[in-house]
Symmetry: C2
Amino acid sequence: MQPFAFTRKIYLEDVLREDARQKLLKRFAVSPETEWIPTVQARGRITAEPVYANLSMPHYHASAMDGIVVKAEETYGAHEHRPLTLELEKSFAYVDTGDPVQEPYNAVIMIENVNAIDERHVEIIEPATPWQHIRPVGEDVVAGEMLLPQGHRLRPVDLGALLAGGVLSVPVVQKPVVSIIPTGDELVEPKLDVKSGEIIEFNGTVFAGYLEEWGAQPRYAGIVKDDPERLRLALLDAVAQSDIVIMNAGSSAGSEDYTVHLIGELGEVITHGVATRPGKPVILGIIQDTIVVGLPGYPVSAYLAMEWFVRPLICKYLGIPEPKRDTLEVTLGRRIVSKMGSEDFVRMNVGYVDGRFVANPLTRAAGVTMSLVRADGLLVVPHDCLGYEQGEQVKLELYKPVEEIRKGIVFSGSHDLAIDVLSSLIRKRDVSRHILSSHTGSMAGIMAIRKGEAHVVGIHLLHEETGEYNIPFIKQYLKGQDVVLIRFLQREQGWIVPKGNPERIQSVEDMLQKELIYVNRQRGAGTRMLFDYMLKEKAVDPQSIKGYNREMFSHLSVAAAVKSGTAHTGLGIFSAAKAMDLDFVPLTFESYDLLMSRAFYESEGGSLLIEIMKSQEFAMQVERLGGYKLDRTGEPIDIKE
Amino acid sequence: MQPFAFTRKIYLEDVLREDARQKLLKRFAVSPETEWIPTVQARGRITAEPVYANLSMPHYHASAMDGIVVKAEETYGAHEHRPLTLELEKSFAYVDTGDPVQEPYNAVIMIENVNAIDERHVEIIEPATPWQHIRPVGEDVVAGEMLLPQGHRLRPVDLGALLAGGVLSVPVVQKPVVSIIPTGDELVEPKLDVKSGEIIEFNGTVFAGYLEEWGAQPRYAGIVKDDPERLRLALLDAVAQSDIVIMNAGSSAGSEDYTVHLIGELGEVITHGVATRPGKPVILGIIQDTIVVGLPGYPVSAYLAMEWFVRPLICKYLGIPEPKRDTLEVTLGRRIVSKMGSEDFVRMNVGYVDGRFVANPLTRAAGVTMSLVRADGLLVVPHDCLGYEQGEQVKLELYKPVEEIRKGIVFSGSHDLAIDVLSSLIRKRDVSRHILSSHTGSMAGIMAIRKGEAHVVGIHLLHEETGEYNIPFIKQYLKGQDVVLIRFLQREQGWIVPKGNPERIQSVEDMLQKELIYVNRQRGAGTRMLFDYMLKEKAVDPQSIKGYNREMFSHLSVAAAVKSGTAHTGLGIFSAAKAMDLDFVPLTFESYDLLMSRAFYESEGGSLLIEIMKSQEFAMQVERLGGYKLDRTGEPIDIKE
């Protein structure tokens, strides 16, 4: 809220990401230190130099069999028809596999070929050849042989080989220290009673997590307020203690400004601004050989930029190649528009429907952490590309194993909290399955089935003329398609109102009389259509309803608007009102059904879904939500003429 | 060494692995406990139940832009031709992105569209619509919405979303406790002075590493000697404290026997013996609801069996699907023979040569840990399959990213310690490259080039008739193939003898006179051919040389044989003698050259290899090994007529 905002002028470049990366890597003067640590604690660390065996494997002549050791020369006379008797401790001894074979013995006879006569004597019927069934010293590895090269990430099995080779401590690359400085007046450490205008500092936890996964040692410096002097001290302190420093601007533009000036003053700004969306306002600099990376405040921008610029530094320091994600060829369910001149990074959901992978973009807002949480993959649109058309084939970087994507059940259409229950129970039954759910509204759900982009969709569409639910729409839009409509829930719709219903809302008329503010649902949503049906019935002009044009995408968002006081009421379901601790004025029960292709209905996933819907556990959990009636849930509805 | 070995009778079943697994899983009574831990420490843990947002995102109406907040109703008159003046704190306030928007304000105007007049006044030329540039409460996530399902492994970004959603502690599945009991009289904890017959206990470290990676809590119970009473106590103690117990038999068959009887006595043996090679002698049992898995003593068997039987238990407990490895289609470089009725698990090396992935088996001995360390992938031959022919296409489970395999340089033929130097320097120059080296001998190396199974091979083949090195063999075996022979090293061959050369060996004649024992190299090895050449020159019958038929596969193995006293001498190179602290009687310099296809020679990898060979650093490091002369190293040799 500072008038300072007026005077600031931030000039951002549009450097290509790869150019910025190369420039940065060139400036990173790597001087990794080696530390010797006990082998038993070295899992996940990177070898700093080649490691050689101290001990041969085996390190003594070892019996390869259970049996007896003999002197081969003494056995030459043994024959089937002329068994040879040997005396214990004089001409043979018992050995188990792995036991040492020592002078004067030089061969092993398998126990199966030995005939015990008494406690002290055995008979053999075949001569032994020298060194038979003996693993000589160094058969597998000879002392001095290289066990592992440098730059090798130590897996459990490597530790086994090192220990077997007598290597009890191992030279590994010290972890590079990366300081994290979150900046911004609005930031607070995680706490329960967050006030308006306060933002919980969570980027630091995310950064630290990635740094640990990449093999670095995070050092959390704590939140620094937007004060130039404090920022300078924190930065100088971090530079002195670290190989790399991450400064994370708050969402306030002011702090970003401090960062770039500070780096310029104390060292050198290498790049300020890369040609990416999101992630543009990245700052790459250097102070006394320490790289300083200024990451944007928006979470998604920050995490992406960290992967572009911080991870390569860590890999260079550790001497390992940068890991690459698996990729997957997908069909685009929607058009993706991109700006010329900047690389676009679009978080995508991917479903496997009708034998192909269909991908749809999640929100592109850089502030929405959940878009990264929910993403199955990332679409990178090059800087010289204007985007892709719907139906085009593109390659995604995968965030999840393709096996997991392949087994996901793609749910679309209208959202309901009972879908979360379904999702949770499915996972409980079969851990390899999950429901991939997006809230698009009932009509969009029908279209998704038509285009083969979803396995199952939730719909609750009231037909204006017939007053019938769902079936008329299926007949109209899915003519000739083999689909199954499954009875799901009778769901109560009503007015979501503040606790105690202070405006005493019972009808549309109440709203009009008191000029109350309504919060609406998006076009194509069943609840929107219910409201429109009510208005038409009462001959009310939609535009006379205050707030009619403000659209929310879910019941919970409507409830949230009422809760926050930006609307007096909205239509929605009981469970949403309950979740936000609001009151609910019941209006009508509607049929919320599940529509699916016959192929999915008859698949393993479909059967599982139906089975769970019909289960006692599902009924109980839905009952607990309130506002539902279950009636023949899971049974197909006849949609024939 | 107990006569006890005689009376034992172990009847092993041949249960199919999948059947054994299903039976075991069915018996594992899962009762995972939930624990609440701070979100900031929850990375890598598995959610025990769905997690819901406590706080909406945003949790207050937040400005989406840098600019000013206004009351929309007051701005309706603003127009390009009739700018509207607003007064600070009366009708507007400054906001940065993320700042809260509070009553009475209800719209944000971007700073770019605001004209500052003085410290207290601004002008606007466009009206604002209510709620423009405001992110209302819950736009991204509404309090009460599900953030994550149960059975979700928490990634750094998930922690961010949880914290942003006001979830400061999170319910995760407690890690299942898995006790590890290594058993065997021969086992010792890792130490430097290992005696003959002692084996360093390293399986426990490997098990613990895998358990941690899979999400369990290992509990190392310490080595237990092969004593029934001690084993019983250790097992009962472990059962009381763990969800799963691993007993690891020493390589001695006796201890395995104790384990199965003990489990049967204290509980129930579910399966004893699975139809796999290696891994057959697995024991699966249950004592008081705790699963007890008896793993074989041989490392490779133990690690494979652990993945088959222990990992599924852990995944079931945690409620997550079992991870699967990527697979790769490869061409077999050699025939793979398998036994009917048992699944074979063959560790394989994979190289990318001439546009195809060629795979060759490593040793199949279950005791050789290095075979797992060196493996790029695993070939599973089903129990009803007799194996595969050379050249057949098969699918491997990958142990390494395919990208790493694709960039590997496949080295074969004769081995030399200078190859390790080359390997280490290549990795230093380009961390994404490595040399995949197998020791097959010079002749096998030539054949590998002929069949397109190696990029580069080391050869030092003395031609009996011409006394010329390498070129005659290339002309004979690679007629018409476009290959390049690169000058590498002049290498000194000689007698490797014990310190002080007690037998004063200088020649073949010395050996014959004193009836000394020689240790030979395998057929096709250059050193073997050198020895044969010498014998022929002196008209000595090879069979008059004691030990002529004992074949070693490397210089170091020859040196090891001399070191251990099982041979008086062997032919080999100086660096091998030096590595084992032995003496060396020089005999002759030989040409050890590198042979490669022209395609590889002209590739990026080939250029890098040549560049490094010619470097000062390579010369210095080879000099340090001793026994080499470098002369125009890295230059092509003319092999035309």
